[in-house]
Symmetry: C2
Subunit: 121 residues, 2 copies
Amino acid sequence: MSNPEVVELPVLQDGDVVPCCPPITAGELSTADAQKMAAMFKALSDPVRLRLFSKVASHPGGEACVCDIADVGVSQPTVSHHLKKLREAGLLTSERRGTWVYYQVAPSVVAAMSAMLDLRS
Amino acid sequence: MSNPEVVELPVLQDGDVVPCCPPITAGELSTADAQKMAAMFKALSDPVRLRLFSKVASHPGGEACVCDIADVGVSQPTVSHHLKKLREAGLLTSERRGTWVYYQVAPSVVAAMSAMLDLRS
DNA sequence: TCCTTGTTTCGATGCCTGTCGATACCTCGG
DNA sequence: CCGAGGTATCGACAGGCATCGAAACAAGGA
């Protein structure tokens, strides 16, 4: 925390539209696009993160309190660590309302990933 | 009959319907489903693998010789290693035809991943 | 104010994985 | 049968990451 000049990662912010990358069949991926896409998929490449994400996504309104989803078989700090990863990847956004923190899905990012996997040609 | 060197995978074969997992919004993922899904996403969580996959997918017929796609900036053993990972995840299948080995995309698996990311709510 | 509950950060540890060079394997042409 | 070129495996190393307990931070109530 002693470095105030740390450059923020080019991660995605709440509300951003994310075109990101073309469908995989459109042609060879550039190195830069491949890195961006890989970061997104990596965020979902862990079973715990996948369960956390699905718990948020399956909640009414695509939103859930940490206290509602924290039971995934790992310690609470680990849950927080994974939620942070999902936030940094732009898949979830968080908002504190009083005592509790609520997480919401970021639909555009997920839609972008889905589009990239669309193999229709 | 021409049933030569079939590379057997304990995983998914081209043409198989892949029930695997429900859409993420359908409810909480079971531990088992989460592990299966995470393995698929993990296969695409590396930039090199993503580029290899896109090179195969963007080739006519969704098929390409290793010699056509091996130029991704890493050594030949590393390319082979990544292709093996993609094979083990069920995303690619391989077939030796004479001197060269051809890789094809396994459309159903990719479609399954895409379906899981479908967030229409 | 102090205490309780919810959440995040910190520091350490052990496993997993991407990468390479060397080498073995497979197929074809001579 | 042998050599050459394409592909896969092996062994080793370095960096990354999931996980935990402890501690710090935030908000509300007594």
